[in-house]
């Protein structure tokens, strides 16, 4: 399954996003969302709980994303990319802007779970 620890770099990028990347010119940049592997150190699988437990899970997630962020920065530097947020959010996601080669290099990192295009969102189309 995509996104697990055994994922190949190609499985960390959806097929449609891969097509978009393939059409980019050399040096052309694109905005993407990198999902970092933060694990579930509290072992809270599906358990609902107190706000205290929620806060602990948030802190654990942020802490777990730090090693990944350092590697992201090193990769982005090599590919003239930039991080678009100072820290990862509670989902372990970090927005970046880089080239297709940069996205590919990010997908090769063991800290990266998946990379998504920063595509548009909208209301659903009205029933017709």
């Amino acid at each position: 399954m995509a996104g697990t620890s055994q994922s190949a770099p190609s499985e960390k990028i959806g097929s449609r996003f891969a097509e978009v990347l393939g059409r980019l010119g050399p040096g052309q940049k694109i905005r993407a969302i990198v999902l970092l592997r933060t694990g579930n150190s509290l072992g809270t699988t599906g358990r609902r709980g107190s706000s205290h437990r929620r806060q602990a899970a948030i802190v654990a997630s942020r802490r777990a994303s730090e090693p990944g962020l350092r590697e992201i920065d090193r990769i982005l530097e090599r590919h003239k990319g930039t991080r678009l947020a100072t820290h990862a959010d509670v989902l372990g996601s970090i927005p970046v802007e880089t080239t297709a080669a940069g996205v590919s290099a990010l997908a090769g990192s063991e800290h990266v779970k998946a990379i998504l295009e920063d595509q548009q969102i909208s209301l659903l189309s009205s029933p017709r």
């Binding site: 969302i33 699988t45 599906g46 678009l84 548009q120 209301l123 659903l124 029933p127």
Partner: protein
């Protein structure tokens, strides 16, 4: 009875799975007709393949196309003749009191299609012919006309019932003796909310706007850039109208609303909204929105929500009709919601626009297909609150809306009731109870499918199952 031409699988060997030659719907219809009954059908047969025509220019294209059509029609004749000869023998043996089974060509054989009368047995025999591609029911066709909606009648009935038809259909008011969703936080990611609406009094506990750069913008008062978000919030946790009509499924639940569809919005906007909802202590996140294309890896976000934070993501499956689905509602981990409507006579059916599809996820095994939607809920003529809107006939504060966007908050509200009633139930148990206890009109054997999913939500049954 089964007349489906089941392919032996091939999933294990990796070869493509051949679709059945008779659809499940037609199979069901044939079963109703009975062994000696007959009905009209269309047989699509395999046409001889030809080399594509190389042409340039419109006139030459047209001429070549017509010539090609004539040649193809001639090529269809021997295949069709062989099929008819075989079917004549089948027809002679058919045990129908209604006489022999008729068949005929259609037009000048332009299309590789023929008309036949079939019994369940003759249809099965036809599927055994390697040249038969599919057998379709000879369905009646008609104009798609806009249906006149009797809002006055519906409004009167809802006034009389003291709640919207959706709440009544789900038997939600009966559940309120147990819980109204107290202490459950429902996050709504939408166009914002008009939190000063009287129907939402004291329900809105947090509001934020997220821009396309992911900035969180705090405002003194909440607002809605349209009407959609306010309508959705009303269905989740709204109170009563002046006429005493209850509009919200979980009227004591807390609302946390992120305006993520205000101006240009991207995935980054949505993820920032989701992150904010996690930080606010959301138990449920309701999303009636979509992406331009299917992104299977978004499921990773849903996994984090359910596994790491114990949050239930509820998402609309889309309004693009049967055979389609919208992201992120079609992600494996989302509780995906389709829409049902109330028909004259009290029957409830899936709305024509309600999307549904089965998807194979990358990296999954050949048989690991995800069928969407998961469940269906009221999503047509849904009455809920909107920001005040001045019209020639006065100020409107409530409106009817249609869409899976309206079905989704019904499901989010039901989940809030279940979570409030069962505070220790894990999110996976809530989701499973909602699916397992849903009612499919075709019975348990027919679910899940791409219309009803696992069926229509039954909150009482779900509560009993938890």
């Amino acid at each position: 009875m089964s007349v489906q031409n089941h392919d032996p699988g091939m999933a294990e060997t990796g070869t493509p799975i051949t679709p059945p030659k008779i659809s499940l719907a037609f199979e069901q219809h044939l079963a109703k007709v009975g062994p000696s009954g007959k009905c009209d059908a269309m047989v699509v047969y395999r046409a001889p393949t030809r080399q594509p025509v190389q042409v340039r220019g419109r006139l030459r294209t047209l001429k070549a196309r017509l010539d090609r059509i004539k040649r193809d029609a001639v090529g269809h004749v021997p295949v069709q003749s062989r099929l008819f000869q075989g079917y004549e023998k089948v027809s002679a043996k058919a045990s129908t009191p209604l006489g022999k089974l008729a068949f005929s060509t259609i037009g000048e054989d332009t299309l590789p299609v023929a008309w036949v009368e079939v019994t369940p047995d003759s249809a099965r025999q036809l599927t055994n012919d390697p040249d038969v591609v599919a057998i379709l029911p000879n369905l009646e066709i008609g104009l798609i006309r806009p249906r006149k909606v009797d809002y006055v009648g519906l409004g009167k009935q809802e006034n009389k019932d003291g709640c919207t038809w959706g709440l009544k259909e789900l038997d939600v008011p009966g559940l309120w003796s147990k819980t109204k969703g107290e202490h459950i936080n429902v996050a709504v990611l939408d166009t914002g909310v008009y939190g000063n609406h009287i129907a939402l009094a004291e329900r809105l506990k947090g509001f934020i706007v997220v821009d396309s750069l992911g900035n969180r913008i705090r405002t003194e008062t909440s607002f809605d850039s349209g009407e959609h978000g306010t309508h959705v919030c009303g269905t989740i946790a709204g109170g009563r109208t002046d006429e005493g009509v209850s509009i919200g499924v979980a009227p004591s639940a807390n609302l946390f609303v992120a305006g993520v569809l205000i101006g240009n919005a991207t995935l980054r906007t949505l993820l920032e909204g989701i992150s904010w909802a996690v930080e606010q202590g959301a138990d449920i996140i309701s999303m009636s929105l979509g992406f331009p294309y299917y992104e299977p890896l978004f499921d990773e976000v849903f996994k984090i929500l359910t596994d790491q934070y114990g949050i239930l993501p509820v998402a609309a499956i889309g309004n693009e009709n049967y055979g389609n689905s919208s992201s992120p509602g079609n992600a494996r981990g989302a509780l995906s919601i389709g829409a049902v409507e109330k028909l004259p006579g009290g029957k409830v059916d899936v709305a024509f626009f309600s999307s549904g599809a089965s998807l194979v996820f990358p990296g999954a095994g050949p048989s690991d297909i995800v069928t969407k939607p998961d469940v269906v809920a009221p999503g047509v003529q849904v009455y809920s609150c909107i920001p005040p809107s001045k019209k020639p006939d006065g100020t409107h504060e409530y409106a009817y809306m249609d869409g899976t966007s309206m079905a989704t908050p019904h499901a989010a509200g039901v989940a809030a009731l279940l979570m409030a009633a069962k505070p220790t139930a894990p999110v996976s148990a809530i989701m499973e109870a909602m699916k397992d206890t849903a009612k499919h009109p075709g019975g348990a054997a027919r679910r899940p499918d791409n219309r009803w999913g696992w069926g229509m939500l039954r909150p009482w049954e779900a509560l009993k199952a938890l």
